[in-house]
């Protein structure tokens, strides 16, 4: 686990949260529950052999995607790594297309071509879903560059893991973001581990933590525990304002925890590289859903019954998604060579000229 425990101050009354209607607050809760449910069902479908490859679950980290994405406006964009189901649902992708993608069906968000790690929804300003650690970080800077080039007031939320900060591409992107005043926000989801390696064994960093590396590039930074949605929203909003008003980048290190293994195949995540006690303690203290549920009940905007219904609705929604995925067809064999080249797919003059495929 990380070497720092950050006591969190409540941000419930910060303007950005005070402005939330009761419905909106319940909506945030619902969205987290939907992610949790989706992930739990994905897990069991994986165990039933319905899903191939990797499955990196977001359980325990829901407040980060939901909190950050809930702040996005028309010209704000988001991009992340392979642990992308939470972000996908947060931007409004349907459980159907997401579950069908896991099944490798033609009705999946990527037509079954990308799988769990590669969800995309450009129409919702969501740019994936990237499998190569930190490979998305220069892309995030590029999206921000495009906003600036187009003279649009927007921000790019580029998520990455705590283990991703040691990739060269991230370092290069940081220098460019600062040098060129790009409105990009790097959100390090620090769940304490990169696979089986604790953050302590992977990253040398200053006292202030991973985000403090920002100072090496003259970039603003902040570090906080993200299990409270209000906190996530309030602290991320500051960075978005900086991006919108000053076109300056920010690095946020957000402490969180993944309840499951790194991917589904991770025998050592219980009493291997981390103790059962640690896992239990984290679940008990930092479960973002439990915490927000309790907060909303204290606030009186959520009651047992509504909470139950939300759970039931989420369960129903994901069961429908499974049904949809089950009943959807696999892509035709011909699909293998589609979506390789834009010009070929569109059968333009360019796409019809010369040999593009070599079997």
């Amino acid at each position: 686990m990380t070497n720092r425990e950050l006591a969190d101050e409540s941000h419930a009354t910060d303007p950005i949260n005070a402005a939330l209607t009761a419905d909106e607050k319940v909506g945030l809760f619902r969205d987290m529950v939907r992610i949790r449910r989706f992930e739990q069902t994905s897990l069991s479908m994986y165990q039933k052999g319905k899903i191939g490859g990797f499955l990196h679950l977001y359980i325990g980290q829901e407040s980060l995607a939901i909190g950050a994405v809930s702040l996005m406006g028309e010209h704000d964009h988001v991009i992340t790594a392979y642990r992308d189901h939470g972000h996908a649902l947060a931007v409004g992708m349907s459980m159907n297309e997401c579950m069908a993608e896991l099944y490798g069906k033609a009705t999946g968000c990527s037509k079954g071509k990308g799988g769990s790690m590669h969800y995309f929804a450009p129409d919702k300003n969501f740019w994936g879903g990237h499998g190569i650690v930190a490979g998305q970080t220069p892309l995030g800077a590029g999206l921000a560059f495009a906003l600036k080039y187009r003279k649009l007031k927007g921000a790019v939320l580029c998520f990455l893991g705590d283990g991703a900060i040691n990739q060269g591409a991230f370092h290069e992107a940081l220098n460019l973001a600062s040098l060129w005043d790009l409105p990009v926000i790097y959100i390090i989801e620090n769940n304490g581990y990169s696979m089986g390696t604790s953050q302590l064994r992977s990253s040398a960093h200053p006292q202030g933590g991973l985000a403090q590396r920002a100072e090496g590039y003259g970039i603003a930074w902040d570090t906080f525990s993200g299990s409270d949605v209000y906190t996530m929203r309030a602290r991320t909003w500051k960075a978005i304002e900086r991006a919108h008003e000053e076109s300056r980048p920010t690095i946020l290190e957000v402490l969180t925890y993944r309840h499951q293994g790194h991917s589904v195949a991770d025998s050592k995540h219980k009493d291997g590289y981390r103790t059962k006690e640690e896992i239990e303690a984290q679940k008990a203290q930092n479960d973002p859903i439990v915490r927000f549920r309790n907060l909303l009940m204290e606030e009186g905007v959520l009651d047992e019954e509504t909470a139950k219904n939300i759970q039931a609705e989420a369960k129903f929604e994901v069961d429908q998604a499974v049904k949809f995925a089950e009943e959807s067809p696999f892509p035709d064999a011909s699909a293998i060579t589609e979506d390789v080249y834009y010009e070929v797919d569109k059968q333009t003059e360019s796409g019809r000229t010369g040999r593009h495929f070599f079997n």
Partner: protein
């Protein structure tokens, strides 16, 4: 037709496309204030300013990745690698991001980006600076790659590459930048995937790309002068997409072929061509397909030896005579 250098022809292509489409911008190390390490972008920063012509720090993975990200939002970046050899520090971005995102998104995204720069040996800059990775790029479905040999093709292919909606990697040659050639006036576009018969001949075919085309033309002259042999020279121009028909038509006519490239032999473009030709023109071959590539070692510095390491007209003539 006006006569331009290969360098000027590229420069015109950039200027015309910058003026035609506000989404087009140039980025790379020293491309702006310095006018380009090889002066290919001369004067463009002065003319179009910081907004369209941008100097980047020495961070190829960073700025190439940035360009790919910008292209996803609809910009049309024209990124310079000072040398294609430096692609190796940005290789993941070049292959996995520009090359795979369209596919992995089921076609939701495309990356209309051009990545360009010189890829050649022959200038005594040593092994790390003399790579010619067109074969690596062409191995990667999702990417396109072309290697212009003349000023006209350099301009025409570059303009086409910038307008293409897929990632197109253009490999130029520092030894050709100063070469002059006639370039059609006005709008001049050369399609990708169309080879060009640079010399007609009936006895044997040289297939080449990039500077090897120039070498092939010299060899063809020598063969005609010394042996009366009429060699045809097919310039592939574009490697992927590839104009297989033009290559096969020439082979069916001459029944003899020598494949020439400046890359190392193992899995070079000529290996792929040999496998296609023997498969699709098997009965038209009077002799095995011959290959002339760089001598199979890292690029040597020593100038006179490097000249020997790369295919020379005499090497092509010798290879041709073997099967004539």
């Amino acid at each position: 037709m006006p006569t331009l250098t290969y360098r000027q022809a590229l420069n015109e292509a950039f200027a015309e496309e910058i003026e035609r489409d506000e989404n087009v911008f140039l980025m790379g190390e020293e491309v702006a204030q310095y006018d380009g390490a090889y002066k290919v972008t001369q004067g463009l920063w002065k003319r179009y300013g910081d907004y369209r012509v941008i100097d980047a720090p020495i961070s190829e993975a960073g700025f190439i990745g940035l360009g790919i990200g910008a292209s996803m939002l609809g910009l049309r970046p024209v990124m310079e690698l000072m040398f294609w050899s430096f692609a190796y520090v940005a290789f993941d971005q070049l292959i996995n991001n520009a090359g795979m995102i369209r596919y992995m998104s089921g076609g939701l995204i495309h990356c209309p980006i051009v990545i360009r720069g010189p890829a050649n040996g022959g200038t005594s800059v040593g092994a790390t600076h003399s790579h010619t990775p067109e074969n690596f790029i062409a191995n990667t479905p999702g990417l396109k790659v072309c290697c212009p040999a003349t000023a006209a093709d350099a301009k025409g292919l570059m303009k086409t590459a910038i307008r293409d909606n897929d990632p197109v990697y253009v490999m130029e040659n520092t030894l050709l930048y100063g070469d002059t050639g006639e370039v059609p006036e006005g709008e001049h576009l050369v399609p990708l995937g169309v080879a060009d018969v640079k010399r007609e001949g009936s006895d044997i075919t040289f297939v080449a790309h990039g500077r090897a085309v120039i070498t092939s033309l010299a060899a063809a002259e020598q063969l005609e002068a010394e042996d009366g042999t009429l060699a045809e020279v097919v310039d592939l121009r574009s490697i992927r997409p590839l104009d297989v028909d033009t290559v096969l038509a020439s082979v069916r006519k001459t029944n003899r072929v020598v494949l020439v490239e400046e890359n190392k032999p193992f899995c070079g473009v000529a290996a792929q061509l040999a496998s296609i030709i023997q498969l699709e023109a098997f009965d038209h071959l009077d002799a095995p397909v011959q290959r002339v590539s760089a001598i199979d070692a890292p690029a040597i510095y020593s100038p006179p030896l490097e000249a020997m390491q790369l295919p020379r007209p005499a090497d092509l003539v010798a290879a041709a005579r073997k099967i004539l």
